[in-house]
Amino acid sequence: MSRPIAILDTNVIILLLDTTNTRAANERRTLCELTIERLEKQGARYIVPAPVVAELCRTGRGSDTIRSVVRTMISTLRIEVLDEDAADIAGEISRTRLQNRAGRERGAVKYDALIAGVAQRIGARWLVTADADDMRACLAVINSNIEVVVADQQAASGQLALVSVLRPGG
């Protein structure tokens, strides 16, 4: 039997890369790492959709060095291509979500819709993200069964919840 697939959203990879060393950033990063380890223990196989690579490597913020580091880092994972079926699903998500934006649809197929499209196409079990609301909204359009896992939040149950209770001031 094949292992369940967990899709990594762009924002999780960005949070993992933070080097500011502020307390808040370190906490979010640690939570992301714990989430990844937790799902890995459940047999998850991590996959990065190609649109995530596009989002990470786009121009704007980030130097060539960052892009190069990101590419090396995600090369340890499987990159899933955006095929015709996935693009079709992404189109459906965008179409439905943009119904209230008549006249401004052009170029509005967002990365979130593309990522959700790939996740749905390959039958992912989890979508690991730091932006649960947008992803849930995308997946709801296609009545998807994919579970959205919020990477930078304490788990609602299990060992991490216990840690949360025991932590001073927690």
């Binding site: 039997m1 094949s2 292992r3 697939i5 762009t10 924002n11 960005i14 949070l15 993992l16 890369l17 933070d18 080097t19 500011t20 808040a24 950033a25 979010r28 990063r29 790492e33 990844i36 380890e37 890995e40 196989r45 991590y46 704007g60 913020r61 980030g62 130097s63 060095t65 960052i66 580091v69 990101v70 090396t72 880092m73 995600i74 090369s75 340890t76 994972l77 499987r78 990159i79 291509v81 095929d83 967002k110 730091a130 947008d134």
Partner: protein, 269 residues
């Protein structure tokens, strides 16, 4: 007294008989003496190749077939195998012959064609008999040329993530690389001799392979065009740590919060 099922001693199981298949050069007046040794060798080799192709298509290991008997009554050769999967492969082989290769993989169809041409060189037809001896109900099955198929296949290229688990180089220098996909299942892809050497170096390792598939009524694996080694999937967090270290060493401050805030701003536009 109530007799329970468990009180009744179970019948001893019959030992499994070896799987049999007879191939016969069937023609009027043909006897064993009419088939030269070289022809026989070619016929047996073509039969073995056809079996291997069918087994591969069914994702089974090719059974070890042995020549058990040569019989008169045309020139009939009885092949046997003790392998447990042999029965399934023989049944698939017979079905493929009966359907004249319709819906089979290109490799199976080529091997059937080769078996057919080898048999016709003897001037007679090839009869295949997988039934019990004396089974009158079974009609004789003759190998015919595979049906011409609609070749409207679309060749699709993609990248698969897998481990290299096997290599093969046949007598015609055609290479095959066997990949076990990370998400289950496996595929055999044709390869050039150069790529086969590269694949040999990567055996047992995780790779990203650029491959093609023939998409049609039935999908088949095509060729392998490129192989790249990649780290084992579980090394992701180690790679993240190494990436952060690289950024810190180069004095680059990567502010995730600012990046995400910028992204959120773009989304709201």
């Amino acid at each position: 007294m109530v007799l329970r099922r468990s009180d009744v001693p179970s019948k001893p199981r019959k030992p499994k008989l070896p799987t049999k298949l007879t191939i016969a050069i069937d023609g009027e007046g043909v006897t064993l003496k009419d088939i030269g040794l070289r022809q026989l060798a070619q016929l047996l080799e073509a039969t073995a190749s056809a079996f291997e192709a069918v087994a591969q298509e069914k994702h089974l290991e090719a059974p070890k077939l042995s020549l058990a008997k040569a019989k008169q009554g045309s020139a009939a050769y009885e092949l046997v195998s003790d392998d447990p999967q042999a029965d399934r492969v023989v049944k698939s082989f017979v079905t493929t012959v009966r359907k004249r290769g319709k819906g089979s993989s290109p490799r199976t169809r080529t091997s059937l064609l080769r078996l057919h041409s080898t048999a016709t060189k003897t001037g007679a037809g090839l009869r295949i008999d997988s039934g019990e001896p004396g089974d009158k109900k079974q009609k004789p099955l003759y190998l015919a040329i595979p049906i011409e198929e609609d070749t409207s296949h679309v060749e699709e290229g993609t990248v698969v993530y897998a481990r290299v688990v096997g290599l093969k180089l046949d007598a015609h220098d055609r290479g095959t690389v066997m990949l076990r996909y990370d998400d289950g299942g496996s595929g055999d892809f044709e390869s050039s001799p150069d790529l086969l050497t590269e694949a040999a170096r990567l055996i047992g390792k995780h790779v990203a392979a650029r491959v093609t598939f023939q998409r049609g009524e039935v999908d088949f694996e095509g060729e392998i065009e490129r192989l790249e080694e990649r780290a084992a999937p579980s090394q992701f967090l180690e790679a993240v740590s190494a990436a952060r270290k690289t950024l810190e060493e180069q004095g680059i401050v990567f502010d995730a919060t600012a990046w995400l805030a910028e992204e959120a701003g773009e989304r709201d536009e």
